[in-house]
C-alpha cells in the first residue's frame, strides 16, 4: 500500500499508470476490431461470436469491470497530470513558438475527452440499446448484431460521429503508442524511428479497419440480410 501511494505520488509513477492502462485499452481496441470485422463474413459468423461472448457472462463482466477501471484510471490520472502541468507553467511568455509541433501531441487531452463521450454514447447505443427502439425487436433475436449494426450505421449522423471518434482515437494513438513505450522505458536511439513509425502505422491500420464498417454500410455494400 505504502509502495502504491508513493509510486502514484511521483510524476513517473503516474505516467506509468497512464501508459499501462493505455496499453491495456489498445489491447481492447485491437480485440474489438477483430470482433467487429466479422460482420463482413455475414450474419451467422458475427452473431455466433456475440452469442459466444454472452455464453460466459462471468468472464464477460470481469473483462468489462477491468476495462472500466482501467479507463477510469487512464482518464483520472491524465487529468491530474494535466492540472499539475498547467500549474508548473502558470505563467507563459507573450511570444511562444514550437520547435517540434504535431497536432496529435497538443490535443491528447481534448481527443481523449471527446472519445470518452463517444464511449458513453456507443455503449448506450449498441450495448445498453437505449437510443434506438428497433434494437429491441431484431429479426434473429437478442444476439442479431449484424442487423443491429447495419441499422445503426444507416443513420448518417451516427456514422459521422463514429467516424470522427475513430479518427480521433487513431490520432490519439499515433502519439500515444510511442509515448507509452517511451514512458515504460522501451526506447533507444536505434529503436526510436522504428517505434515511432510503427506506432503511427498501427494507428492508421486500426482507423482503416474501424472506418470500413460504417463506410460499407453508407455505400450499401453491407445491407440487412433477411433471416
Amino acid at each position: 500500500m505504502k509502495f502504491l501511494a508513493s509510486f502514484y505520488g511521483s510524476s513517473i509513477g503516474k505516467k506509468w499508470v497512464v501508459a499501462l492502462t493505455g496499453l491495456m485499452l489498445v489491447g481492447y481496441v485491437v480485440g474489438h476490431l477483430v470482433g467487429n470485422l466479422q460482420i463482413f463474413a455475414g450474419p451467422e459468423q458475427i452473431n455466433q461470436y456475440a452469442a459466444m461472448l454472452h455464453s460466459m457472462p462471468k468472464a464477460l463482466w470481469v473483462i468489462r469491470a477491468v476495462l472500466i477501471a482501467g479507463l477510469f484510471l487512464h482518464v483520472f490520472t491524465t487529468l491530474k497530470l494535466a492540472a499539475e502541468n498547467k500549474a508548473a507553467k502558470a505563467r507563459q511568455n507573450e511570444r511562444r513558438a514550437s520547435t517540434a509541433p504535431k497536432p496529435a501531441k497538443k490535443t491528447m487531452v481534448l481527443s481523449g475527452l471527446v472519445l470518452l463521450s463517444f464511449i458513453v454514447y456507443h455503449l448506450l447505443h449498441f450495448t445498453v440499446r437505449s437510443t434506438d427502439p428497433r434494437f429491441h425487436s431484431l429479426p434473429r433475436g437478442e444476439h442479431d448484431v449484424h442487423t443491429m449494426v447495419i441499422l445503426g450505421f444507416q443513420n448518417p449522423l451516427v456514422s459521422g460521429f463514429y467516424l470522427l471518434s475513430v479518427f480521433l482515437l487513431c490520432m490519439h494513438l499515433s502519439h500515444g503508442l510511442q509515448s507509452v513505450l517511451q514512458t515504460l522505458g522501451i526506447n533507444s536511439k536505434s529503436l526510436r524511428d522504428t517505434l515511432n513509425k510503427g506506432g503511427q502505422t498501427v494507428s492508421w491500420i486500426l482507423f482503416a479497419g474501424y472506418a470500413s464498417i460504417p463506410v460499407a454500410v453508407l455505400l450499401n455494400k453491407l445491407t440487412v440480410v433477411a433471416p
Partner: protein, 252 residues
C-alpha cells in the same frame, strides 16, 4: 561590416515580487558579428547613456559551456540556432526586425529581475543524488575500473548537459525530465555510479517533483532546443531506472 537596427521587446521586472511587462527599445548600430549577449551589452550602454536602468540578464563564460546564459528569443529558448544564447550571432536576424526577449519561464524558475531567473532548483536536484561517493586520498589507477566503450559513449553524451534549463523553458509542462534524465543517465551508466544507482534515481526524481517541475508528456520540445544535444532517450532510461529503483526499495 554590416550593422543592424533592431526593435527589441524586453521583459522588464524590478524584482521577484514585482509585476513585469514587455518594454520596447531600439537597438541601433548592432554589428552583425556581435553575439546576442553583446547586442544586449550595446543596448545597455545606449540605455545607460540615457540614464535608464540596464537590462539584467544572466551570462558567464560566453563560450557555450557554462550554462549560465538563458533567454527565450522569439519564443524559443536560446533562439533560432542550435547553440546557447552566447553563441548566437546577430547575423541570424534581419535589419529592422522586432525581437521578443523574455526569461526562461517555469514555476520552478522564478524571475529574479528582468531576464534573470533562479535556476537553483537544478542545483538542489544535483545535491539530492547527482554525485558518486568516493574516498579521499590518493586516486586509484585510472585503468583499474574497466568501462565498456558503449557505456563510456553513452555516459559522455549525457554528461554534455550544461544545466542551462532550456529544456524546462521549452517544455509546455515545465518539466525537467531531460535535465534529470541526463544527469542520472550519466552516472547510472558508469561502473562508478552503480553502488548508489537506485538511491540516486529515487532521490533526484523525488526532488524534481518537490521543486514544482511539471510531468513529461512526451512533447519532445526539450530535445529540439537543447544546446548540448541531449537525446530524449535519457528520459526513457530515467523512466526505466525509477520504476526499477522504486520496486527494489519496496521489497528491501
Amino acid at each position: 561590416m554590416k550593422h543592424l537596427n533592431l526593435k527589441v521587446k524586453v521583459w522588464r521586472q524590478k524584482n521577484a515580487s514585482a509585476e513585469g511587462g514587455l518594454v520596447e527599445y531600439e537597438a541601433r548600430n548592432i554589428p552583425e558579428d556581435a553575439s546576442f549577449l553583446e547586442m544586449l551589452d550595446i543596448l545597455n550602454e545606449q540605455l545607460q547613456e540615457k540614464g535608464e536602468p540596464a537590462i539584467a540578464f544572466d551570462h558567464d563564460c560566453r563560450e557555450g559551456i557554462c550554462g549560465m546564459c538563458s533567454l527565450s528569443i522569439n519564443g524559443i529558448p536560446h533562439g533560432p540556432s542550435a547553440t546557447t544564447t552566447c553563441q548566437l550571432y546577430m547575423r541570424h536576424f534581419k535589419d529592422g526586425e522586432t525581437i521578443f526577449i523574455e526569461p526562461f519561464r517555469a514555476r520552478a524558475f522564478p524571475v529574479l529581475r528582468d531576464l534573470m531567473v533562479d535556476r537553483s532548483a537544478f542545483d538542489r536536484i544535483q545535491q539530492a543524488g547527482g554525485y558518486i561517493t568516493a574516498r579521499t586520498g590518493s586516486a586509484q589507477d585510472a585503468n583499474a575500473i574497466l568501462i565498456p566503450k558503449p557505456a563510456a559513449d553513452k555516459a559522455m553524451e549525457a554528461a554534455a548537459c550544461i544545466g542551462c534549463g532550456a529544456c524546462v523553458a521549452a517544455c509546455p509542462n515545465g518539466s525537467a525530465m531531460l535535465f534529470v534524465g541526463a544527469k542520472a543517465t550519466h552516472l547510472n551508466t558508469l561502473p562508478q555510479g552503480q553502488p548508489e544507482r537506485n538511491q540516486r534515481t529515487l532521490a533526484m526524481v523525488r526532488k524534481m517533483d518537490a521543486e514544482g517541475f511539471g510531468n513529461c508528456s512526451n512533447h519532445y520540445e526539450c530535445e529540439a532546443v537543447c544546446p548540448a544535444n541531449i537525446p530524449l532517450t535519457v528520459i526513457s532510461q530515467l523512466n526505466r531506472d525509477f520504476v526499477k529503483a522504486a520496486v527494489s526499495e519496496s521489497v528491501q
